[in-house]
Amino acid sequence: MPATPALVGRLLSAASWLTSPLTPDDYLGLIDPLLDARRPAARVTAVCAETPDTTTLTLRPGRGWSGHRAGQYLPVGVEVDGVRHWRTYSLTSVPDRPDRLLTITAKAVPGGRVSPRLVHRTQPGDVLRIGPAQGEFVLPDRPPPRMLMFTAGTGITPVMGMLRSLMSLRPPHPDVVLVHSAPTARDTIFGHELRLARAKVTWFRYHEHHTRAYGRLAPDDLARLCPDWRERETWACGPAPLLDAVEDHWARAGRGDQLHLEHFALSPALSPEADATGGRVRFTRTGVEAVADASTSLLAVGEAAGVRMAYGCRRGICFGCLTPLSYGRVRDLRTGELHDRAGQSIQTCVTAAAGPLALDA
């Protein structure tokens, strides 16, 4: 019934005259968070451990979900002590499944605030906020005839979404080589499924490498593992040093245009000491960079650098200067309190840099 969602949309849009300044979604969300299309949510329907520190969550997305492409990632909002934290996790399910379910696969980062909770303490029935699927690291609509996937650790997750999609397609299938490394067989996410596919799927070759026993793979090893790598369009995902080496290797071979890379958007590791002083500030919207010391407000830093900053009282009262923190850490000049939650709006008039950071201004 393709007309139904459009009709519902029109009705709700008309009903917003009655709910103004709220929207019908604000009321629907109270009945069931999954009915709220403005703030999409998903309900966990199954939790499945992949490795000791990795879990796949099966999600039923609500009204606000608009679909994804294989290889994309999903922003997930998890409430911890009343505060909603946003993280992104690769979608590992085939897009547009008939049952409309999604899967994401998450690894618990030791000492992390969000991922350990998501991996170890999520239960079926829990509701998570979700954002629209994002990312350019995707399976093309018409896959090239020969593909190489080069992954390490959790870098397998977006590629798994692509492989499962390829396997769900009708022939002809591309010729696919996957070279994947993980610490041990036990730590290999989707290891069982991949080994099974290697045995059954004729167009899929799989090399699994264990770094604890045999050391890390380097791009040079591809000459041995996949001699025709130059002729293959390649998707690589894994830790930053590996990706840097891959990028360099492909560029030297003059094959940079055949390479797709996915950097997991891990914000730069923050040093734990509270007295980090100042830092470089990037204003992402204007492209301006400036050096900030630990006692000058970011509002003053931005204005001195010629950025048109939002402002108000200039003393931390009115919240007129709220600007989203893209990444990095700031210190409240009044209290010394540190803020480092990416996406959080900060009061630039009473915060200073506590390390390198970027503001969405």
Binding site: L22, D26, G312, C313, Q344, Q347
Partner: protein, 360 residues
């Protein structure tokens, strides 16, 4: 009147500069404690208020749809008035202050919230959060000190039009949301050349758009949907809006205008330190005493002193810090103006009447 802080305590005849800073540091410590303690319980509180407010609003609208039946009219009007009061006070006012920004929830955030009040949230955040909360009770800087129309301090020049200010107040109370909407356009600032006419027109467009939505909803669409109950429904909506106007006007006027609340001059705040700012906020505000329900329905603005000292702390925490703020004030010999609603209300009227005539 310009205020110097005098101790009531004979052992401590005058508060000096360092005492003001020590006073500020004590308040800073309270602020830091609450910020560290905010958590899941506070989040549950605000979500419970949001759910209650939307439930009351939906219930009120449903009852008014069949309000030819008199008990339905009474119940519907009461529920809708309560919903509007909750929305404006405990939700709108406080969320727009950024008290809940720390939740990281875009649905409950000062930058995205729009309220069920005529003036658009953006306009109000400028006049209220920025101008009023920064320059609280400074004659010539805080437009809320008499809302441009009233004379509330001997430091404000008397003009013959002030003779009519008791009448203005009688009219303003039932029409409060209209008064605030016009006030937020800052026509006085345009006349004085402080606000460009273009900005005024932008704000006016914003107000007209918002007002169209607000008025269509309450006075056209819901009455139409009520069919045979159209007229009682319209009257119920009008009553709910008016009750809300009377209530918000009362709470807001009683927060700054009762006897004992002080005003300040521009010279007084030159080079103001953080301690002095706290001192001005505390002395420029008045509390209203009441039970828990009163405080929720007044957006916890009965704790006006605590709100002005900490405008960005979650309102559900004001009650627990109020005794501590009061104790600190007593220790430093700083007056802490508080009283029951009837007393503060009478006192506010006394002030409006007193300053209607020229000071001797």
């Amino acid at each position: 009147m310009t205020v110097t802080v005098n101790a009531v305590n004979a052992d401590n005849p005058e508060i000096d500069f360092s005492a003001e800073e020590a006073f500020g540091q004590e308040l800073d410590r309270i602020r830091a404690e609450i910020i560290a303690a905010r958590g899941a319980g506070d989040a549950r509180y605000i979500h419970a208020v949001i759910t209650a407010q939307r439930g009351l609003e939906a219930g009120g609208r449903a009852a008014l749809a069949v309000s030819l039946f008199p008990p339905a009219w009474c119940a519907g009007t009461a529920m809708l008035a309560t919903a509007k009061i909750l929305e404006n006070m405990e939700l709108g006012h406080n969320i727009l202050h950024g008290q809940w920004d720390w939740l990281g929830d875009p649905a409950v955030h000062s930058s995205t919230w729009e309220w069920d009040f005529l003036t658009p949230a953006e306009a109000w955040k400028h006049t209220h959060n920025h101008l009023h909360h920064t320059w609280t009770n400074v004659v010539g800087l805080d437009r809320d000190l008499g809302y441009v129309v009233f004379r509330m301090s001997a430091d404000q020049r008397w003009q013959p039009r002030h003779l009519a200010q008791p009448l203005y107040n009688l009219l303003l109370a039932p029409l409060f949301e209209w008064g605030i909407a016009l006030y937020d356009l800052e026509p006085d600032a345009v006349a004085a050349g402080r606000k460009p006419p273009r900005a005024f027109l932008t704000d006016l467009t914003g107000l007209l758009t918002k007002a169209t939505c607000q008025l269509t909803k309450d006075y056209v669409l819901f009455p139409l949907f009520a069919g045979p109950s159209a007229l009682p429904c319209l009257l119920g909506n009008l009553t709910a809006n008016t009750v809300r106007n009377l209530w918000t006007h009362t709470i807001i006027f009683c927060g700054h205008f009762p006897q004992g609340v002080q005003t300040f001059t521009e010279e007084h705040i030159e080079g103001e330190t953080r301690g002095e700012w706290y001192l001005r906020q505390v002395q420029g505000s008045a509390n209203i005493e009441g039970g828990p329900l009163f405080h929720i329905l007044s957006g916890n603005l009965g704790h006006q002193i605590e709100h002005h000292a900490f405008p960005d702390l979650p309102s559900n925490r004001y009650a627990e810090i109020a005794p501590r703020v009061r104790e600190i004030c007593e220790r430093y010999g700083i007056p802490y103006v508080t009283g029951p609603l009837w007393k503060q209300y009478g006192s506010t009227w006394g002030r409006i009447l007193r300053y209607a005539v020229p000071s001797r």
